[in-house]
Amino acid sequence: MFFRFLESFNSEPLLLYLAVIGIAVAGGGIPPMIELNRRRKIENSLPGLLESLASSVGAGHGLQEAMMEQAKNTPGLLSELLLQTLEESHASDINSALTSFSAKTRSSQVQRVMMLIETAMDQDAPLQVILESLSHDYERLNDLINKRENELLGRGILIIMFVSVGLPVLIAFIVGLFAPASAGFKLDDFNATFGTFFAAASAVGVGVSGRMLGRLKGYLWFLPLWMAISMGLYLGAVKAIGGG
């Protein structure tokens, strides 16, 4: 029965293409998610590290010494990367160590901070004041990013659920109940049109949800899958309720 149900979608090539492409492409969306999590962990611990560095520098330590001390004593991914960089580059100068560290983190926040520290050292600027100021700046920035993430994540999921799942099932119910194919209604063209509409609406919904959270590129990997789910839900529900 299940295979007969699946075979009934043979007349919907768009759905089949989207499903195959969607499943294949969805795997590509997982690495960006893992990378985002890793980057956010690093960025969230950046203000703490800067604050500790400011205290150590204020106590009279050199920057490299302060960094080594903090890397050894503070837990977390950022400290691990810092320790690894400092151990690898003990023979080279601090500037190349900072550049190597910022490249390893793959975070634009860390890269900016390291660039500014390098500039400050080149210009003999007061490091303690700069580190403290950077720590406050990035703490506020990360608070805002986290706030946006926390408050909009639920709404983003709600958009996808409403548009990609709720909407096609609702319309399929109405069509299936009032114009069942089992009662002789000819719905092939009608269903093809509405199926395509729900796929497109789902694409809009996923796009809006991704843009809201500032990670549209990451969400694009899941776009074909959601389009296929939306289209499949509509066509499946119409067939299940209305027969045919």
Binding site: M115, I130, S133, R155
Partner: protein, 193 residues
């Protein structure tokens, strides 16, 4: 979009200028450092200024900064350029002004994020409403030729099925466009974090 890039980079540029100039670097050298890259569209702008100055075709840094003010789209970036211009022409205390401007820009950014979250609060429900009303009406319209048959069809003049199909297709496209424009504010009002 230029305005988003300006908003995103503006604060970092101010902080870098603050560090550079408070440690004794001159304005031209500071602009040159930022122009070397890392600050998006602002780096490109400053690089253009430096290229014009070094080519010898420029009337001076103040004119280049002033002309860049016409290109700037965000208020924060325009204010920054104005501060740089005033420093060149009137020798103002740029470090102090940059610090004040940085704090102000930061407050504005926090406000914008708050507003952004509030404004996007109703988007899921609005998208569902628009996405639901259109298809419900259009699905009934699309089924009219099959629903109204027999005696009822004799009393009413039912439009041509092709015309109904065109209306349904057009309606669905309009619904999609409507949904797209509702969602567009997620992009246009982005605070640029």
């Amino acid at each position: 979009m230029r305005i988003l890039d300006e908003k995103r980079e503006g604060l970092y540029v101010i902080r870098t200028l603050d560090v550079l100039m408070s440690s004794g670097v001159g304005l031209e050298a500071a602009l040159h450092t930022i122009g070397q890259g890392g600050y998006g569209i602002i780096s490109e702008d400053f690089s253009k200024i430096m290229k014009k100055l070094s080519s010898g075709n420029s009337r001076g840094i103040e004119y280049e900064i002033k002309s860049m003010m016409n290109t700037a789209e965000s208020d924060g970036y325009r204010r920054l350029l104005n501060t740089l211009y005033n420093n060149v022409t009137q020798n103002t205390d740029i470090v102090e002004t940059l610090r004040k401007q940085g704090s102000r820009l930061e407050e504005e950014r926090a406000e914008e994020v708050k507003k952004y979250i509030e404004e996007l609060g109703g988007v899921p429900e609005t998208l569902l409403s628009i996405g639901m009303i259109g298809p419900i009406i259009l699905s009934i319209a699309g089924l009219i030729p099959q629903l109204l048959t027999g005696d009822i069809a004799a009393f009413m003049s039912i439009p041509d099925p092709d015309l109904i199909k065109s209306v349904v297709n057009g309606g669905l496209v309009i619904t999609l466009v409507g949904m797209f424009f509702i969602g567009l504010k997620a992009h246009t009002k982005d605070p640029g974090l």
